[in-house]
Amino acid sequence: MNGRTRDDAPRAHRSVLMETAMALVRHRVAFAGLVILLGLIVMAAFAPVLAPYDPNEQDLYQVLQGPSRQHLLGTDDVGRDLLSRVIYGSRVTLAMGILSTLFAAVIGILAGLVAGYKGGIWDAVIMRITDTFMCMPALVLALVIVAALGPGMKSVVISITVLAWTGFARITRGQVMIVRELPYVEAAHALGASGYRIMFRHLLPNVMAPLIVTATISVGMNIMLESAVSFLGIGVQQPTPSWGNELRIGYSYLEIVPLFSIAPGLMITLAVLAFNFLGDGLRDALDPRLRGEEKAGS
């Protein structure tokens, strides 16, 4: 019994990442989400190649056309190709959804780490600030911020970040409060690790799983919020195409060319669904207990 269990030595390199990826592929709904998402990302990345026209090129002889061979989804109110605008719109919408989630996650995780690890007065102050932000009505706050900073991509990202960081803070704090009591954290203290090191090296990696899930679902929610703000006309401004503002203009012509608003609307739905599916799948994939059950079942 000198630990000569060599059979498990080669498996030593099968990382958590690999196992998660495997579990994700097995999870059908998550896999669907992943495929849709990859499609959207390819669409955004290769927009100039995929789009048949320049999204800003107007053709005032052909406004509000239905689908045709020339314009697969028809044209908008100033004769721009709708398909091209939807394709380019994916860039703006995805970028804003992902960016704002990233900022929100960084702020929220930092706040939650400090609150959960330091406790006491730090915890009280940070969590009260979080509560304050949480009890503001989302759309109204977004309106106020955009009104103050002026419309545009930057102010939309800022307002979504301000709204979304609280969720990350709460989850991080809760998880940290559980993990910080575990023996290995005490052992890290006994090794002489600094507070900074314990927070980032020992606590953060151990609370990452639920945060990854939250972040994924949060991207979907932020896309919705961005669309809502743009729909209200205070988000991204024309001529920059985003699904939200396409929907808004299309809405006025709903009876003439329904595709004008249905196409961007469907894209929003698809994107949000994809992120939610993926989030659900990640939740299962990252939870070792559920993974075990699934194995036993199949």
């Binding site: 290995y184 052992a187 203290h189 006994a190």
Partner: protein, 320 residues
Amino acid sequence: MLLEVRNLSTHFETDGRIVKAVDDISYCLDTGETLGVVGESGCGKTVSALSLLRLIKDPPGRIVQGEIMFEGKDLLALSEEEIRAVRGNRIAMIFQEPMTSLNPVHTIGFQVMEPLMIHKGLSRSDAMRECIELLKTVQIPDADIRARAYPHQFSGGMRQRVMIAMGLACAPRLIIADEPTTALDVTIQAELLELMKRLTVVKGTALIIITHNLGVVARYADKVMVMYAGRIVEKADTRDLFRAPGHPYTRALLESVPRLDQDLKVKLRPIEGQPPDLAMLPSGCAFHPRCPQCMDRCRHEAPALKNVAERHEVACWIHD
């Protein structure tokens, strides 16, 4: 003297009640010596060890008085940064639960490297080289491969070896092993204790072994300290303690353990009753409700430690 603890008291406050987990204990330890700390669960063994490194969470815990002189410095007077430089570097601690004392998201190698990078400022590659050497000293086979494995791929005994390697990393002057083998098979217990003892003897490291296993104490400790309800009730060289236990509690402890050289007809005698609630200690000597030799005086007055022989102190009125 490497370590001198004077009048150390650590109290916890919960719901307005004060729990005297460690109450006015003093002891000392020289380079290369091994001290065994024995006692029932909840008698303050672990808290006294954690107090040395100031790892008591405040609130609810607090070191209310005392001095801990280590290498000529009072650890209780150090700044937060200075005490951090002592932890894991001059004094290392080996925890009682090898299954949960390693961080599941980091490789074994990373965790053994960590003290080296914190205290010695080694680069990653130097630390890795050192780490593999350490894993070899604690007899982990294929150290260079195993260093890249995660804790869940190790058995309990192997993890405890890793914990020992982490403890030894910075060549500390003192290692505190808190029930280092409780969670392991008996055969591995002996192997690991033997290993730990050998490695500390080689380097002249002092060792504090906290345990409730009297066999471990008899075999590995030079000195023993018996704790009851947060206080030291007896302190002696190991041989003297086993030959002539002075406190009724120590005697009771010894009688509750089977001995191979004992007459088979002699029955084991458990200690009647429960250890006391540390927030509501009985008056006088804390052991008096369970003591077979309880006298009237024991109910009212707490005895202090007194010399009964050379280097043998007992806190009991029967020696008065």
